[in-house]
């Protein structure tokens, strides 16, 4: 049953993501990639659950590296997007 519920979320979120990106100026392509890339770091949540669960030493070690990679993705991703968009705003303001 969980699978069907997950599938429902997947299909609906897929259509939603499709509809969200309609008209987008070319200058925003790179910031959008950067911003959505940071969102895909959501896998950090999975890493945290697996790393902390203490199932086995190996699982914890793998989880540790997953948390490091995903945190780099999330923190770095949001910061780079922020810098990019700030520059963008400044250019527009001039």
């Amino acid at each position: 049953m969980a699978f069907v519920e997950n599938l429902t979320l997947f299909v609906l979120a897929g259509f939603l993501g499709y509809e969200l990106i309609t008209k987008i100026p070319a200058t925003l392509h790179t910031p959008l990639i950067s911003g959505t890339n940071a969102i895909s770091g959501i896998t950090l949540i999975g890493s945290v659950v697996v790393a902390g669960s203490g199932h086995s030493t190996l699982a914890s070690v793998l989880g540790f590296f997953a948390v490091v990679l995903a945190t780099v993705n999330v923190v770095g991703g949001y910061l780079v997007s922020h810098q990019m968009l700030r520059n963008f705003g400044r250019r527009r303001g001039e």
Binding site: F15, G17, L20, I21, I24, H29, T43, G54, V67
Partner: protein, 297 residues
């Protein structure tokens, strides 16, 4: 369910995830308009902080020091890279971050399989878990290696397309080896003994990593932005299928949003170059071949 938020009802966690999902949607929406883009990024970051924070506090963390260290190391590296990067080098850094996200998803799915086999034995794995893990491993490893190659090309390490004989046949061959490893994992045919390490999964990762390199190496440096956009969509899909492995709603919602919006953006970018995605990925020379997809927005 014995973390710091012990007294709260069971449904609290999924409800907070729902709020995070909404913040991602609003943030993504605002990211598509010049005036609201910066605000959109902050809203989506808030959703992320909320989701991660509540997850850390909710679950009983058996090794809080290890987790804390991992979070600190990752945040340190991410901040350092983002702060020290030159504006012109940002696209390749995004590529690297993107690869890390895909790699993390692949590791999480593997760790979860190893953990479940350790706790319940190989027979305790459901076909849904192994199937979703196989998809995660394939997409995640292709994203990891492909993104690193793409970032290297953007950085100017070797921009020219590198061609090898029978390119497309080799790609298809390697893909089918990876898919076979996935099928062994799901059906548990004892071609490869599973063991506590869940060997077929790691074999799948290794082959998929090679595939990631093979796919990106023949593409010219000028086409890398499209490749990064596509791999970004892949890393979202990898996160979504990790959500299927872990039964986690916010992973599925956020990952799928990124996957779908990334695919659309990839299409828009191809169209603005007047080329098809197939032409960019497999056309080889990076030369513009006119396609009929140049309809106005």
């Amino acid at each position: 369910m014995a973390g710091l938020l012990d007294g709260l009802p069971q449904d609290t966690l999924p409800l907070v995830y729902l709020v995070s999902g909404v913040l991602f949607i609003v943030g993504l929406r605002k990211l598509t308009h010049p005036r609201t883009a910066e605000q959109g990024n902050l809203i989506s970051a808030t959703g992320m902080a909320l989701a991660v924070g509540v997850t850390v506090l909710w679950f009983e963390i058996l090794e809080p020091l290890v987790l804390g260290a991992a979070l600190l190391v990752g945040a340190g590296i991410g901040t350092w890279l983002a702060v020290s990067v030159e504006t012109t080098e940002m696209p390749q850094l995004i590529g690297v971050f993107n690869g890390f996200g895909g790699g993390a998803s692949a590791l999480v799915a593997g760790a979860e399989l190893v953990g479940q086999v350790g706790a319940l034995g190989a027979s305790g794995l459901s076909a849904t878990a192994t199937g979703a893990a196989a998809v995660t491993g394939l997409i995640g490893a292709v994203t990891f290696c492909g993104s690193l190659v793409a970032a290297g090309k953007l950085h100017g390490i070797y921009e020219n397309p590198i061609h090898y004989p029978a390119e497309n046949a080799i790609k298809v061959g390697v893909l089918s080896v990876a898919v076979s490893a996935g099928l062994v994992l799901v059906t548990r045919i004892d071609l490869v003994p599973m063991g506590e390490l869940v060997a077929p999964y790691w074999a799948l990762l290794a082959v998929a990593s090679v595939l990631g390199v093979l796919l990106v190496v023949p593409i010219g440096g000028a086409d890398m932005p499209v490749v990064i956009a596509l791999l970004n969509a892949f890393s979202g899909l990898a996160a979504a299928s990790t959500g299927f492995v872990l039964n986690n709603s916010v992973l599925i919602i956020a990952g799928t949003l990124v996957g779908a919006s990334g695919l659309i953006l990839t299409r828009i970018m191809c169209r603005s170059m007047n080329r098809s995605l197939v032409n960019v990925l497999f056309g080889g020379h990076g030369g513009p071949t006119a396609t009929s997809g140049a309809e106005a927005d």
